[in-house]
Symmetry: C2
Subunit: 208 residues, 2 copies
DNA sequence: ACCTGAACACCGTTCAAGT
DNA sequence: ACCTGAACACCGTTCAAGT
């Protein structure tokens, strides 16, 4: 019984039984121990879930440094999203607070490094990176909740148009990400028209 | 005892005692009734909180149609954020799910109308508006949680720089919002350099 | 000193019993 | 038919009692 063993078992339990199984009592039952035994390795439930989240985030590969800065940012954020969605038990927690364990910090450094390389003013790098992280967290949250699709959003979509663009979809997520990256490009090099806009997005939308 | 009375009392209770007071039992005690009495007016706790959220959002004024589209979007989103932060009991719920009661739908229509006016392709209007709403929700969540400041973020800030830009701050929020609006501008009129970038942001950051 | 599990102070919601 | 409150099936965490 080490923190790593507990975290790994909790991740697996969440994969099998979903977020409803992530209670101290259910986790302890799964481990075959008393709920209080967990408190000997983690100060509280939140700390345990942080460790589990970092475990999921460890699956994300650090993109190669030769790639262009925007592709690196896009890769990290879409990969974190995909990794979180592979682990339904912990996805909601990842969406709620940015995972800043060792794996999370490594990825955060990739983003700030890429933004500095993009030509953003030093004082803006952290603000832009937090904007990207915030947007990604919200996009993930929408995807998580789309599992139980929201009646109210359906009504709004219906009121506006027939063809629903699916609220928490990957396409929706990447669209907003491109808006942010375009905005960052403009911030870094005002006046220059963005020649690469959309170059790395999955779909070509120039003829919609 | 009508739904409106219950929602108003719950909003006031949350203003006074914070999110911890927003349980069916505490709300009922505040109203001087049995917890079950509330279920006669709302199907469940979530529906009640949705009504309370809409009450808070009703405080946001619909911006004048003569204003430029980006200023209208900026006004709505910063005003919703401010309204939510004036009501600590319900702010977390507003951050978790976009309020789509009658007041929320009215504001959502302002945003989609503004984006259509901006020149965005019809198919992109809803995607961009969802990106804006998602970002705003995440920014609000960070502000709410910044009330109990996050030790982990403090470490990251410290590791990167000395001068902490405050995670959930209004300045941070507006910066990300400008990135998104700039991205939308570029999406609507590719090739045109954005001459109005930052024109409506609170601070002039051209000489940092 | 270490570990356990009973207990505390809560939840949202159901449902049977009262009026 | 309407309303109440006891009860159900949970929570995270504390803490006293055991080993």
């Amino acid at each position: 019984m080490t923190p790593a063993v507990i975290a790994a078992a909790t991740l697996a339990l969440g994969d099998r039984e979903g977020p409803g199984a992530m209670s101290m009592r259910r986790i302890a039952a799964d481990l075959g121990c008393d709920p209080m035994a967990i408190y000997r390795h983690f100060p509280n439930r939140q700390a345990l879930l942080d460790a589990v989240a970092d475990l999921a985030v460890q699956e994300v590969a650090v993109p190669a440094g030769e790639k262009p800065w925007d592709e690196r940012v896009r890769a990290v954020l879409t990969d974190v999203r995909a990794a979180a969605l592979r682990h339904p038990g912990i996805a909601g927690h990842i969406a709620s607070r940015p995972p800043l364990g060792s794996a999370g910090q490594k990825l955060a450094a990739v983003i700030t490094g890429a933004l500095a390389e993009a030509g953003l003013a030093p004082g803006d790098v952290l603000k832009a990176s937090q904007a990207l992280v915030a947007y990604s967290a919200a996009g993930l949250r929408m995807a998580v909740e789309a599992g139980a699709p929201d009646e109210r959003w359906r009504q709004v979509n219906e009121a506006l148009e027939g063809e629903t663009p699916v609220v928490g979809s990957a396409e929706q997520f990447e669209y907003g990400l491109r808006l942010l990256l375009n905005g960052i490009r403009l911030e870094a090099h005002p006046g220059e028209a963005s020649r690469t806009a959309g170059a790395y997005s999955g779909q070509d939308r120039s003829c919609s």
